[in-house]
Structures are given as C-alpha cells and as structure tokens.
C-alpha cells in the first residue's frame, strides 16, 4: 500500500522557521565568537607564560664585579673558563663592555658614561636542561677569585606568573559570563517559542504527548540552533585570531604580546570543539528544563 510513498524521513514536529530565528542565531554567533576569543586568549596567555617561564628557568645572567687591580678581560676570561668547565652543555655568551653599557641606558640615559664607571662584566647562560645549578656556579667562581652575582630571573618570573594568572582568570570569567548570557538567551527563546507555538503544543498534548516528549522537541531545536551558532562563532574566532597573529598590528607587532607569537594550534581547535559541544549541551539543557517547567505550570493551571 505504501509502496509509492517516497518520503522516509519524519518531519521535525516543531517548525524549522521560527519567528526572529535569524536574530536569535546572530546573537548566538556573537556570543560564541566572544566566548571562543576568550578561550583562545586564555590559552595563549597560559602558553606564553609557560614558554617564558621555561626560558627564564633555563637561563641566567652572571654579573662579574670587576676588580680594578686586574684587567677586565682577564677576569672575564677566568669566569668564562670556570663556567665552561662546570657547565659543558650550556651556551655561555660573554657580553662586551659596550653591550653591557648599552643595557644601562634605560636607567642612565644616552649620555656618555665616565670611563672609570665600574660596569660589571655580563655573561649569559642558556641551557636546554632542567634549570641551572646556581649555588655551584657561585661556589666555583668564588674558588677562582671571581666576585659575581647571579641573576636567576626569579623576580621577573614571579611577576610574569601573576600577570598570566590574572589574564587567564579574566578570560575565564568573561567566558563564564558569556555562557551564562547564552543560557539566558536560550531560556527567553524557549519561553517565546512555547508561547508562539501554543496551538501546536495543545495538539501534542491532545494526542497524548508527555511533557518530556514535548521538552525533547525543544531540546533538539535549541541544540541545532546553538550548535550552528557555536560552530559559526568558533570558525569566525579562528579567522580573527589568525588575522591578529599574522597582521602587522602596529606598535604591538613584535612586542611579545599574546598574538605576536601565537597562531591557532590543534590543541586550540580541540578546545574550541569542546567549547562548541559544551555550549550546545548547556543551552539545550536550559531549553529542555524551561520547557518542562513551563508545561508543568500550564497543566497545573488547567
């Protein structure tokens, strides 16, 4: 009997085209875009902080206090040899006196420095390993009669950690607020949809549909709508982030700021996929719970 009946896919029971659906989708796309940018910002801040921390942990600057009784070159050579013997796998780079003086410019300005100014000799140490043995370095240099201070960069590392934590916290807070706003948008949309589709719902109720059955329809509708918005928002966020990373961002270019060195990696894309799914899940659940509550209230009113 049904041989000629071609259409085998059941229609969705709620109308696909809702009033104000485009406006709602736009709002969801913008929410998802901002949420995705916040996520990328938080991840980039965390990654940049970790990179800098790693660099700081594996590098140090030895300041050789030049004793006026001996020549600068001789003292620097002793220090360099001592360090090379102690740290054979470490890159040891002595800075020339001119380079060392150049580092004082931020404090002393570009005036000519007096010839007898005791500018310390500087040697930078960089290793690929797990940090440097600062105590041993100091002992070895003392044993060779070299008076030296070692700057292990912990002062900068602490500040950097605090800044990065603040950035991550701020981004996470914005992300959370955006998700809450999206939830609210979905709750309003579901309520509006329940009112707009009152006649359809009354038919569902009449043919014996349970509240759960009807709520599932709203869950499906919200999930489709939110997933579409989230995916479009996330894709836009990726493009914007790549654009910011690649573009000549005026004074910020090469400043070491977030987008200066970061693109979008596989990890970021996985996080964005997770964000889209989470975004969809909570919005669909909010729609379902709103529908259930509203339908129960309607039945109580009867």
């Amino acid at each position: 009997m049904a041989g000629g009946f071609q259409n085998n896919t059941p229609q969705t029971l709620l109308p696909e085209r809702m009033k104000n659906a485009r406006a709602l989708l736009c709002v969801l796309i913008i929410m998802a875009l901002l949420a995705a940018l916040s996520l990328l910002f938080a991840r980039s801040a965390a990654r940049l902080s970790a990179d800098w921390q790693s660099q700081l942990t594996n590098s140090a600057t030895v300041q050789v206090m030049i004793n006026s009784s001996e020549s600068r070159a001789a003292q620097m050579e002793i220090a360099q040899k001592t360090l090379q013997n102690l740290l054979p796998n470490t890159r040891i780079t002595p800075l020339s006196e001119t380079q060392a003086q150049a580092l004082l410019k931020p404090w002393l300005g570009s005036t000519n420095l007096p010839a007898d100014l005791p500018v310390p000799g500087l040697i930078t140490l960089e290793t690929q390993g797990n940090g440097l043995p600062f105590a041993q370095i100091k002992t070895a240099l003392s044993a060779e009669g070299v008076i030296a201070n070692i700057d292990d960069h912990t002062r900068y590392a602490g500040g950097l950690q605090r800044t990065s934590r603040s950035l991550i916290f701020g981004s996470s807070l914005i992300l959370t607020l955006l998700l809450i706003a999206s939830l609210a948008v979905n709750i309003f949309a579901t309520r509006a949809s329940l009112i707009a589709q009152k006649d359809i719902i009354s038919v569902f109720v009449q043919v014996g549909a349970s509240n759960k059955f009807i709520a599932q329809l709203f869950i499906q509708q919200a999930a489709k709508r939110t997933l579409l918005g989230a995916v479009i928002g996330a894709i836009l966020a990726i493009f914007i982030w790549i654009f910011l990373s690649l573009s000549n961002f005026g004074a910020l270019k090469d400043s070491g700021f977030i987008w200066d060195s970061f693109g979008v990696g596989l990890g970021d894309i996985l996080f964005l996929i997770g964000l889209c799914l989470f975004f969809t899940l909570i919005c669909a659940m909010a729609a379902g719970m709103t529908a259930l509550r509203q339908l129960s209230e309607e039945r109580r009113r009867l």
């Binding site: 009997m1 229609q11 043919v207 129960s296």
Partner: protein, 231 residues
C-alpha cells in the same frame, strides 16, 4: 455519595459535574452522564449550550469546578500528569476547528499520535497511507493543511483521531464541513470503529446525521443534560 473506582464500569462517567470559568455563570450544572463501553452516543443542543465544554471535560482539556469525572474507571482528579497523558492516548478527538499543524504534511499530521506513542515510521506508514486513502486523501498526503479545503481538513482531522484505534472517540461537529456523501462515509467509519469496540461520542447539530444511526442521544440545554432528541 462518591463512587469508588471499582464501581465504575463506564468509559466516561460524570457524577454531578459542574463547570464555570473564573467567577462567571455555570456553563454546566450537575451533569450526570455515563457512556458504557462500546456505546455510540450523539450529543446535541443549540449553539452555546455547552456541548464543546462537555466534550473538553471528557478529553481532559478542562477540569470540572465541581463533581467527579471517571474515565476508563479512573477518577481524573486523582491522576498524575503522566497518567493523564496515558489516558489521552486512549482518546481520539476531532475538533470543530481541525487543529491541524500547518507546517506538517497531512501524512505527518495523521501519524502524529503514533509518533507520540513511540512507533517507528516503518511501523505506521502503511496504516496511515491506508486510512488516508480510505478518507479520500490518498492524493493529498504530502500537502500542507493551508492548501486543503475545509472538507479535506476535516477528513484529515478525523483520520488523525482514529489512526491510533482509540478506545474512546470524541468528535465535535465532525461532518460540519463536508458534503453529505463524505459525511455519511465518515459516519460509517465511526460506526465501524464502534462495532470494533470503540466508544463513540459525537456532538452535532445535524438531526439527519443522528437519524442515520440507531444510537443514544443526549441533549444539552442551558448547561443541563437530558436524554432523547426532544424535550
């Protein structure tokens, strides 16, 4: 005296049921009716007498202000939502204004109660197609309700009400928008369902229709129900 559930054998049993909207006058007053299992009943009366309201009470779209309603032996005032929905699945309803869902095809509209009952498309397609052909809508299965005439919509609404083979069929002016030939055909469908065991209650103005079938008649006037066609 309140009736106990085990005392009620009727499919529909009203015990001194009254209904008023908010603080308005009583639309129904002390109505006592009983529809035994397998009965066929016409409900008639002038417009505004309360026929549709009485039917709404029968299919649980309204709750009474006073009195008790038993459906399938169960006191409806004591039923939880889920139990009420289970009862509604045993009732087929044809409404005056059709209540077809406009974005769904006629096929989907008719299949609705089967989908709600959890049947798969493969399980219900043949039945829906057969019934639509029987009511003369075989060529309109993929049409949307706004493109149908009043009579076609009426037939689609009837098909939706009977597709799940309900235990109780309630129809409000089911032949009001169809020509006499189709009207008689639909009445034969109701009679056939009744013969198979469905309890049928039809509200109608159409005296000719009432005379077509040897069935019990209830008349409603000023919110009170009487037996027989005439006072």
């Amino acid at each position: 005296m309140t009736l106990q559930n085990q005392d009620i054998k009727d499919i529909v049993h009203f015990d001194r049921v009254s209904l008023r909207y908010a603080r308005g006058p009583e639309i129904l007053s002390d109505v006592n009716i009983a529809l035994p299992e397998g009965s066929f009943t016409f409900l008639t009366g002038p417009s505004g007498a309360g026929k549709s309201t009485l039917l709404k009470l029968c299919y649980l779209a309204l709750s009474p202000s006073r009195g008790l309603i038993h459906l399938f032996g169960q006191d409806t005032s004591l039923l939880a939502n889920s139990a009420q929905q289970a009862l509604k699945r045993r009732i087929g309803v044809v409404l005056q204004d059709f209540h077809l869902i406009e974005h769904l095809t006629i096929f989907e509209n008719v299949a609705l109660s089967l989908r709600v009952a959890g049947l798969s498309r493969a399980q219900y397609t043949d039945d829906v197609v057969e019934l639509l052909q029987w009511v003369g809508l075989g060529h309109r299965m993929q049409a949307l309700p706004p493109t149908l005439s009043g009579g076609e919509k009426q037939r689609a609404a009837i098909a939706r009400a009977v597709i799940a083979k309900p235990d109780l069929l309630i129809a409000d002016e089911p032949t009001g928008n169809v020509d006499p030939v189709i009207g008689r055909r639909l009445l034969r469908l109701f009679a056939e369902m009744n013969r198979m065991g469905t309890t049928v209650m039809i509200a109608t103005h159409d005296v000719d229709l009432i005379k077509e079938i040897d069935a019990r008649v209830l008349r409603i006037e000023n919110g009170r129900v009487f037996k027989g066609l005439n006072a």
